[in-house]
């Protein structure tokens, strides 16, 4: 017998005795056996219970702004690409950037072209120490989540796994059309987009890296970026 068969066998044996469904416990009837109804119960959608999100795009951008502010994210709505370029240039000057990491993409190309700094492009592989010595990482994303103030990235949309976490400043370039109301919509987006061909890496990033492990005091920049900038383009 293989280990798989051993464990699945133990599970099937254990499940021969049914456990009461939580919906029945709620009624104070924990002794009620599991009926066919319980097995077929499909849980309702969580949107009903989770924090509310406005319907219009403007509402969602406003909520995203509030949430990212609380998460200590530098979030800007840019009127056009050149405004975004100006903002990144300002960040580069303030941070004294010498080298940036980035991947190829419509928005990252447009911004990086104007930056004229040394670059590490991750698309075709890179040396870890090269990327580690970058002052910033420039990426695009899959979606922005209004409900939580998160950026959803994936391996193809953010230049792999490390670009968005290794350099000390992460700059995200996103389009207004990428704003989604909640996590449910973001997850649905990747399911529809990738079908069965999922990338090996998908992540929700909510603010710069942080820790509270010393006296529960918040410190930004634990192991990942100390700063997160999100620029919203038309």
């Amino acid at each position: 017998m293989t280990n798989r068969e051993i464990i699945l066998g133990r599970i099937r044996e254990a499940l021969k005795v049914p456990a009461p469904h939580p919906a029945f416990q709620e009624l104070g009837r924990a002794d009620l056996p599991v009926g066919p109804d319980a097995r077929q119960r499909v849980p309702t959608a969580p949107q009903k219970w989770l924090p509310p999100v406005g319907k219009t795009l403007e509402d969602q951008i406003e909520l995203f702004r509030q949430n990212t502010e609380a998460l200590k994210v530098d979030f800007h709505v840019c009127a056009n690409v050149s405004e975004a370029i100006q903002h990144v240039k300002k960040l580069a000057a303030e941070g004294g950037w010498k080298k940036v990491g980035r991947h190829r993409g419509e928005l990252t190309d447009a911004v990086a072209r104007e930056l004229s700094l040394a670059e590490v492009q991750t698309d075709r592989g890179y040396a870890v120490t090269d990327l580690e010595s970058c002052d910033a990482g420039l990426t695009e994303c899959e979606a922005l989540v209004a409900q939580t103030g998160s950026v959803m990235v994936s391996a193809p949309s953010a230049g792999g796994r490390a670009l968005s976490v290794l350099p000390p400043h992460h700059v995200v370039l996103a389009r207004r059309s990428q704003m989604v109301p909640d996590l449910t919509a973001a997850l649905q987006h990747v399911q529809e987009k990738f079908k069965d061909k999922f990338p090996s890496f998908i992540s929700f990033i909510s603010g710069p890296s942080r820790t509270g492990d010393i006296e529960r005091i918040l410190v930004l920049g634990a192991h990942g970026p100390k700063k997160l900038t999100i620029l919203l383009l038309p």
Binding site: A14, S209, I214, R216
Partner: protein, 466 residues
């Protein structure tokens, strides 16, 4: 009394008398309560979310065979190597084997309570592999060579001064009182480790059956680096981590953050569905998922307590538990502390050895009330007590109870006992607290009020006659 119960009692006695420790833990948790409540109140309905979370976990656990099968077949379809580990030994052997086969030199690890459960670091250390914990709290307790104090906040019992001294001793850093500086010391050390490590070990918070992915929740970014840079990634996953659908995360990620750390959402919530895929620039060449049973199926077989497998390890029940706050995380002597640990440890490591933990409860029910997946924790403590006694009846206690019942049911006997008590009590006072005192276990921490000179019956009789 067995050795574990003795150790628990000794440690609990020491910690409860330590007022500094109690104040420290309370202070650390006060901030958590405020934040947790703030983010709970943003939910349109927290009770509604709890119900849904409990039902979703019920669905997963009560069809575990089906969902595990689905999870594994989807993972394997994209090149992940899955190992089913019936016990801790098999899991350790497999992971040591992977490290050996790839001639790994250094291993970086992100936080995993499941790895603590199987003592993975010891096993790898014995084979000569250096394992570095990358989560800041875990790194601190690793340097101190002690187990995590709390399953979410491993170093919450330490002051910045202690951590500064520790870093000064072990890492040669300058003493500092600033938590940010201390964090940066660890950041610098860890950066070098990430770049050098050729194997990364992580746990998982959720296993998504529908898409064959693991989900890891963290704040620091250490798990992301652990799973991005080394050429091998091993994830150790308890079989109970399964969720049926990807969309279930929309509920569980915010709930875990809210009850676990008092956050609306944690900084990184990452899904891993395989090793580096064609066209991807980075990620490990090999991705191993080790599915661990280690007596979880024993708990599964107990239908009454099966919902303890719904646990998402948020640690909320520890944070509200009056026992945890007094005896501290290290007194338990278990990997999983607090109410959830007291419920599941007897299943994972033997009822008779760990039944004392079920007595260490005021049965106030704060744990059950706060649990995001509605585990009936304080009732399970009662179930454990009952099961322990059923398996090993306490004959002396039974005898005493029977005697008590006999006395209470016979007025004459009761009156006789009361009058004996009135005579005996002054004598007890003479020897109070000494070894001759039969009530010393009781009077050590409590007073024994004097018996009334006359019983109610006597008073009543007098009233009737006058």
């Amino acid at each position: 009394m067995n050795v574990h119960a003795k150790e628990f009692n000794e440690s609990a006695r020491r910690y409860t008398a330590d007022l500094h420790h109690r104040g420290w833990i309370q202070k650390a948790l006060d901030g958590y309560y405020a934040k947790r409540d703030e983010f709970k109140s943003r939910f349109q309905s927290w009770p509604g979310a709890r119900n849904l979370a409990a039902e979703t976990k019920w669905e997963a656990i009560n069809h575990l065979d089906r969902y595990l099968d689905e999870f594994v077949s989807r993972l394997e379809a994209r090149g992940t190597k899955v190992f089913w580990a019936p016990g801790a030994q098999e899991a350790r052997d497999y992971i040591v084997g992977v490290a050996r086969q790839h001639q790994v030199r250094s291993i970086i690890k992100s936080k995993s309570m499941t790895a603590e459960e199987i003592h993975l670091n010891d096993a790898l250390g014995k084979e000569g592999f250096e394992v570095v914990e990358s989560d800041l709290g875990e790194y601190i307790v690793q340097l101190r060579d002690e187990p995590p104090y709390h399953l979410v906040f491993p170093a919450m019992h330490l002051t910045r001064q202690q951590i500064s001294d520790l870093f000064h001793d072990k890492l040669g850093s300058e003493p500092t009182n600033n938590p940010e500086d201390l964090t940066m010391v660890a950041r610098r050390v860890m950066r070098r480790k990430y770049c050098a490590a050729d194997m990364g070990i992580s746990g998982a918070n959720f296993a998504i059956a529908e898409t064959g992915m693991i989900s890891i929740t963290e704040n620091e970014g250490n798990a992301r680096l652990t799973t991005s840079l080394p050429r091998i990634h091993v994830a150790l996953v308890g079989i109970e981590k399964v969720l049926p659908r990807l969309s279930d995360l929309a509920l569980f990620l915010p709930m875990l953050a809210t009850t676990g750390a008092g956050q609306s959402i944690t900084c990184y919530n990452t899904l891993y569905g395989g090793p580096r895929q064609p066209g991807e620039p980075d990620g490990p060449e090999e991705f191993h998922v080790v599915l661990l049973d280690n007596r979880r199926t024993g708990l599964l077989a107990d239908a009454e307590q099966r919902d303890a497998l719904h646990c998402i390890r948020c640690g909320a029940c520890l944070n509200v538990c009056p026992i945890f706050k007094n005896v501290g995380g290290h007194s338990y002597g278990t990997v999983y502390q607090g109410p959830i640990g007291s419920v599941i440890t007897p299943h994972l490591r033997g009822l008779q050895d760990w039944k004392h933990l079920s007595q260490a409860s005021s049965l106030c029910g704060a744990c059950s009330e706060t649990c995001p997946v509605e585990i009936n924790l304080h009732h399970h403590l009662l179930h454990n007590r009952r099961n322990a006694v059923r398996a090993h009846p306490a004959l002396l206690e039974k005898l005493i109870q029977a005697g008590f019942v006999l006395m209470m049911c016979r007025p004459a006997l009761y009156q006789f006992a009361a009058s004996v008590g009135r005579i005996a009590q002054p004598l007890q006072r003479l020897v109070g607290g000494t070894i001759l005192d039969p009530l010393r276990a009781w009077t050590k921490t409590r007073s024994f009020p004097p018996l009334a000179k006359k019983s109610f019956r006597e008073l009543w009789r007098e009233r009737q006659t006058t």
